[in-house]
C-alpha cells in the first residue's frame, strides 16, 4: 500500500516554552483510518496541525512522499483536508455555498467548477438544502456536516478530523460516524470518543505527554484496560461488555 503520511522524529515547542511533541514518528498508509487518542494536553491537535503544514516543528513530515515545506503548502493543504473541532471556526463566510466554494476557488478553479464541487460535497454530507442559508441558522450537527463538506470540496486524499463527535447529540453523532465511514479517503481522527474511534478506525495510536505510547489494531489497543487506565482513557463500554461476557 502506498504511504500517505510519514512523520519522522517530530518535536514541537509552543512559544511559551513547553514541549508539546517530543519525538513523534508515525506512518500512515493510503486508505487507512487511524484514531489518535490520549488525555487532554497529550499533543493530539498539535500533531494534526503539522499534517497540513499549519505548524512546523523540528523533524520531518511527508505527505505522499513529498516533504512538507513552505513551497508546497497549497498542494499539501489540498491533499490533506483539516476539519476543525468547532464548526464556527471553520465556517466563516456569510452563506453555506460561498463557504464550501472557498477552498476550490483558492485552488484556482473557475467559479462554475468551484460551485459544482461545492454542490457535490454538500450532496455527500446531505446538506444541499442549506445552500443559501447562513451558518448561524443551522444546528450544530448541520454545521459540522457543512464543515466536512468545505474540506471534501477540495477533494483531499487524507481527511484529518479534530474531535469530530464532540458536542453532538447521539443521533447527529451516529449520522456523522456513518457519513465518515462512507468516505473512502484516508482518515486521521483525534478523539476522546473511544467508541467512535472503534467504529471509525481499524488502527489506534495512543499519545501521552507528546509521545506515541502505543500503536496497533483498534480492537486490541482499546480493550487493553491497563494501557487505557495508565493514559487517562478507558475501555469503551461496547468492548468492556464483550470482555465480561465473552
Amino acid at each position: 500500500m502506498q504511504e500517505a503520511i510519514r512523520v519522522e522524529d517530530l518535536h514541537y515547542r509552543y512559544p511559551d516554552g513547553t514541549w508539546a511533541l517530543k519525538g513523534i514518528s508515525l506512518k500512515i498508509a493510503e486508505g487507512e483510518s487511524v484514531a489518535i487518542v490520549g488525555p487532554n494536553g497529550a499533543g493530539k491537535t498539535t500533531l494534526l496541525l503539522h499534517l497540513n503544514g499549519i505548524l512546523s516543528g523540528e523533524g520531518k513530515v511527508f505527505v505522499f512522499g513529498e516533504e512538507v515545506t513552505k513551497r508546497n503548502l497549497l498542494k499539501v493543504r489540498q491533499l490533506v483536508g483539516f476539519v476543525f473541532q468547532d464548526p464556527d471556526d471553520q465556517l466563516f463566510m456569510p452563506t453555506v455555498l460561498e463557504d464550501v466554494a472557498f477552498g476550490p476557488l483558492n485552488l484556482g478553479f473557475s467559479q462554475d467548477e468551484a460551485i459544482k464541487r461545492a454542490i457535490d460535497a454538500l450532496d455527500k454530507v446531505g446538506m444541499t438544502h442549506a445552500l443559501n442559508r447562513s451558518p448561524h441558522q443551522l444546528s450544530f450537527g448541520e454545521r459540522k456536516r457543512v464543515a466536512i463538506a468545505t474540506v471534501l470540496a477540495m477533494q483531499p486524499k487524507v481527511l484529518v478530523l479534530d474531535e469530530p463527535t464532540a458536542n453532538l447529540d447521539p443521533r447527529s453523532r451516529r449520522q456523522l460516524i456513518s457519513l465518515l465511514n462512507q468516505l473512502s479517503v484516508t482518515k486521521v481522527v483525534a478523539t476522546h470518543d473511544l467508541d467512535a474511534a472503534l467504529r471509525l478506525c481499524e488502527r489506534v495510536v495512543v499519545m501521552d505527554g507528546g509521545q506515541v505510547v502505543a500503536d496497533g489494531d483498534a480492537q486490541s489497543i482499546l480493550s487493553d484496560a491497563n494501557l487505557m487506565e495508565a493514559h487517562g482513557l478507558e475501555v469503551p463500554p461496547s468492548l468492556a461488555a464483550l470482555q465480561t461476557h465473552p
Binding site: 499549519i54 497549497l74 468547532d86 463566510m93 472557498f102 448561524h136
Partner: protein
C-alpha cells in the same frame, strides 16, 4: 416567525444587488440635496419610499421595529427644540434622517446580506472593508451567544442585584470575552489557511445585471432628479 433579515420575497429580491445599492445611494443623495423649504419635495420623496416599501412587501411590524433605533435621536432633537432650537432645523434633520433610514431598511429587506457584499465588491469597494463586513455579519451572532453564556455563568455565581461596585467584574468579563474573540480569530485564520487561503479573498458571484435592472435604475434615478429639480425654488 418572520426571518430576522428577510421578511419577505418580492420581485425586488431577485434584482442584482448593485441595482438596489445604487437606487439606495441615489435616494439618499436626493434626500440630502433638498432644502428646508422644499416640503413638497419631501412629501414626494416620502411617497416614493412608501411605494418602494409597498413593492418590497415589507411587513409593517418588521418595518417599525427597525425604525426604533431612530427614536432616541428624534427625542434628542425634540429636547433641543424645547431649549429654543430652530423648528426648521429640527424638521429638516428629522425628515432627512427618517427617509434615509427608511431607504436603508428597504435595502436590507430586499437584499440578502451575502448579495449585498457581492454588490459592494463589484462596485469596487475596498476588499478590506467588504471582508470586515462579511466577518462581522458571520460572527456577530457567535459573539452575542458567547457573551450571553458568560453573562449567565456570571449571574449564576453572583445572584444579587448589581451595583456600581460590580462594574469591575463586568470589565473583567469584557476582557475575557475579548481574549476569547482573539483566540477564535486565530483559529479562523488557521481554518482559512487550511483551505488554501493565500491573502487574496476569493468569492463566488452569481449576480448579473440585466435589462430590467438597468431600466429600473435609470427610471428611478431619472425620477429622483425630476423630483429634486421640479421642487427647487
Amino acid at each position: 416567525m418572520i426571518d430576522w433579515f428577510q421578511p419577505s420575497q418580492s420581485w425586488l429580491t431577485r434584482l442584482d444587488s448593485r441595482t438596489k445599492l445604487l437606487m439606495f445611494l441615489a435616494y439618499v443623495l436626493a434626500v440630502l440635496s433638498t432644502k428646508p423649504q422644499m416640503q413638497t419635495a419631501w412629501m414626494t420623496l416620502s411617497g416614493l419610499l412608501v411605494v418602494m416599501i409597498f413593492a418590497a412587501r415589507i411587513p409593517l411590524r418588521w418595518l417599525l421595529t427597525r425604525f426604533t433605533p431612530v427614536l432616541p435621536f428624534i427625542g434628542l432633537g425634540a429636547i433641543g427644540l424645547l431649549l429654543g432650537g430652530s423648528k426648521e432645523t429640527f424638521a429638516q434633520v428629522t425628515v432627512k434622517m427618517v427617509l434615509c433610514v427608511g431607504a436603508a431598511i428597504w435595502l436590507s429587506a430586499t437584499t440578502p446580506f451575502a448579495q449585498l457584499l457581492d454588490g459592494l465588491r463589484k462596485l469596487k469597494v475596498p476588499t478590506l472593508l467588504t471582508v470586515m463586513l462579511s466577518f462581522m455579519f458571520r460572527y456577530l451572532f457567535v459573539l452575542i451567544e458567547e457573551a450571553a453564556r458568560m453573562s449567565r455563568a456570571y449571574q449564576s455565581r453572583c445572584p444579587r442585584k448589581q451595583t456600581l461596585k460590580d462594574a469591575t467584574n463586568i470589565g473583567r468579563l469584557t476582557g475575557a470575552l475579548m481574549l476569547r474573540t482573539y483566540n477564535r480569530a486565530e483559529r479562523i485564520y488557521l481554518a482559512m489557511l487550511s483551505r488554501g487561503f493565500d491573502g487574496e479573498f476569493r468569492t463566488i458571484s452569481l449576480q448579473r445585471m440585466n435589462f430590467a435592472d438597468i431600466a429600473l435604475l435609470c427610471g428611478f434615478v431619472g425620477l429622483l432628479i425630476f423630483i429634486v429639480a421640479a421642487f427647487r425654488q
